[in-house]
Every structure is written in C-alpha cells, then in structure tokens.
Symmetry: C2
DNA sequence: ATTGTAACATGACAACTTGTCATATGTCAA
DNA sequence: TTGACATATGACAAGTTGTCATGTTACAAT
C-alpha cells in the first residue's frame, strides 16, 4: 500500500504518478518496467517515489487492487440480482470483466497483466479464501449470498472448493483470452461451455 | 534452449552449471535470481554464460522443460494403465507430481517455481493445446488415448476444454499446496474433492 | 513573532544488475 | 604452416535500485 504521505498529496499529483505508472506497465512487463521511467514521466524526484511507495511491486499491486475493488463490488451486485445463482452470476461477472479490461485505455495494460500474472498478483486481483488483502471481508459476505440449495455439496467446505474452482477457471480463461487476442464472442462462448461442464459435470450422464 | 556450444561441453561441466542454477533458483525468486551468482557458484566466466544461454530466462525454462518431459511421459503411462479413464489418470498424475516435486532436493525449488509461476512458465511445465514447445506433439497423442465414451461431450472441441480445465485445476491446486506448506494427505484430499466436483458437476443432481 | 518539531523533498551515491565485444586461445582440415 | 572456425574471457558501458544526508516546508506551542 502507498504511504500516508502519498495520500496527503494533491489528487492531481497522485493521478499524475499513477498515470505514469499505468503507462509504463502498459508498455513493459512488470519485470522490465523501470521506476526510473515512471518518475521521469511523472516528473518527480527519485527520493520522493520512495516516500510514497515501498517499491515497484507496491505501486503495481496498488493499481491491481483498484481493479479488484471494482470486481468485488460488481460480483456482489450480480449475486444479488441473480438471487444467489452462482453460474448465472459468474457468466455475467466474466462478461463484465472482459468489457472492463477491454476498454481502450485499459486493454494493453491488462494484456500485460494477464501475460505475466503470478499467484501473488492473482491475490491482488481476485479475492480468495486465503486472501489477507481483503479488508472488508468481501469473500465471506459473497459466500453467504450464494444459494447453496442447488449445489452439489457433500462436505463442510465444498462450497469454498466450488467457488475456488470457478475463480480459478475464470482467471485462466481471461489469461488465455488476453494473450491470444480472440474476439469477445469467441471468448464468451468458450467460457460458457466451461461453465456448463463445471455445472453439469464432465462425465456423461444426463442432458442439459 | 541452450546453444549447441553448451551441449558440446563435457557432461560434468553441464551439470555443474545446471546445479548452480538450481541452487540459485531455489534460494531466490526468478526475478531476484542473479546470473552473477550462478556463474560465481559454477566458476565460469561471464562471457561463457552467454555462449551457452541467451539469458536467465533461457536457462530457467530449460530447467522447467526437463520436468515437463518427465510429467508428459508419466501422463502417457498413466492414461494407458487406466485405459483412457481421464479422472483416474489425473488423480494418479497429481500424486506423482506431488511426490516428484516434494523430493528433498526439489522441494524448495518447486516452491519458488509455483510461487512465481506465470502463464509463460506454465507452458514450459505443462503441455497445452497452444503449446509450441512440444516437439513430439505429446498433447495430440494424449488426447487420442482418452476414453471419450464416458465423457460429456456436446461440441467438437469440448474434449480440449475438459482437458484444459483439468490441467488448469491441477496446476492451481499445486500452486496453493506449495505456497501454503500443507501435508500431502490434506492436498490429495482437496484435489480428490475437486476432481469429484468436476466429474459429477457442481449442481446438485445425483449421488456419487 | 519566534522557536521547535515533525513531515516532506531532493538528488547524489554506492552497490548492484545485465549484455556485449575486442581480444585471446584453442582445434582441425587443407 | 596456414587458414578458418569455434570457443573462452573479463573489462566495459549502460542501466538498475534503495538509501541517506541535507534541505525545505508547515504548523503548533510558547
């Protein structure tokens, strides 16, 4: 997280820095991104940068967490609108992510993000059971909204396994989509089929 | 891939370098690992390193690909032994990965690998449809061994979706396991339950 | 108004990186 | 013996990062 000092800055200065960071992370992978470049673009001295952020990672994760907050809010809205139906919720959730990440000023940034995402960054972008970076305990709240009656739950924490699988599959599909420049239609179709497979099972047994 | 020059080296020199690399990648994340450290440990001059490998990534991926080859061979053996049963195959496959990666001289290395794996590294470790790094076309061969008759296949390439989901879920479980230091028993149990969910579906419908 | 204290700003600096390249040294065939 | 080629090597340029001593504010207390 940024320091208090960063938040004491004028909103203008804050966004200048964040925009410079976005620009760098859009054109370079996280590993290749350079703090030098960011501070040059934002016209702030080197020492100041380290007054605001611990390091490059701190800044990067802060950017990711802003998207995560958005995704979390969206997810809570959708699960309510769908009256707890997990699959409808995820189908709409996925589309809203695709739309958000495909916005003109976001697309290349997220392409970089997804191309290089690791399990650390994943936690900043998607909430999971073991996510310490979730102050408002979104995850717990989300679980409570799920209509469990329709789900194949046999053990205590099968619900968490189910949700974990859905998040994992969702992220994996996102990564594949953004690294291979497919059309939205094609991506949505692939996601839908995966959801069907998860919902009804991979073993042949019944028709939809 | 290493250059021809590397393979012209004596086996002894080769392993000295690879062992030094393993050591460094065991104690540092990929990002923090230093070529300086590796060449110092292996006692080779800086210029020589660049005769053998393009860069740090080239060396790292070469190490990963050696494990991938092992995993691929194992998978082909298992699918044959299980007569094409995808779920039994994956259950045994997962256990064999866990055992291999948990070996005394591997464990910390793989812990680093899984903690920092991204979609690029994933492709070097696990074969997928879009994997260019698979000379012997393992993937195609594997697909042919699968007993499709038991699977819930509705569309042309549902099989690839299924296999993709299984690989994705397997890797995700590995990452979680190795980053949280759980016991093998606990890990296997969690994997088993996920497999059941994938097999029979997440929606309530029938008993096992 | 003056002083003191804490917060913030700044750029020079040390201590690392990495990849290249000119030069040296092998090796083997003609 | 002479090329021609593959390989070895370490000095080097160009970059990176995080720190820190020294300024400069701002603002409360006397």
């Amino acid at each position: 997280m940024p320091t208090q000092t960063f938040f004491h800055l004028s909103k203008e200065k804050q966004t200048t820095l964040l925009k410079a960071a976005m620009k760098e992370f859009t054109h370079q992978s996280f590993a290749n991104a350079s703090i030098n470049q960011i501070i040059k673009e934002a016209s702030i001295p080197r020492g100041s940068f380290y007054m605001y952020f611990q390091d490059k990672e701190d800044l990067y994760f802060y950017l990711l967490e802003q998207s995560r907050d958005r995704f979390q809010k969206q997810l809570l809205i959708l699960i309510e609108e769908e009256h707890g139906d997990l699959f409808c919720t995820f189908e709409r959730f996925f589309e809203s992510i695709i739309d958000y990440c495909s916005k003109k000023n976001h697309r290349l940034f997220f392409k970089q993000v997804f191309a290089n995402i690791n399990s650390q960054a994943e936690k900043r972008l998607f909430p999971t059971k073991t996510n310490v970076f979730d102050p408002r305990s979104f995850y717990k709240h989300f679980l409570e909204q799920i209509d469990v009656s329709k789900l194949n739950i046999q053990q205590e924490d099968d619900l968490e396994e189910i949700v974990g699988l859905l998040f994992g599959m969702t992220l994996h599909t996102l990564i594949l989509s953004f690294t291979s420049d497919k059309k939205k239609e094609e991506i949505m179709n692939s996601y839908h089929r995966k959801l069907i497979l998860l919902k009804y099972g991979m073993e042949k047994y019944r028709k939809e």
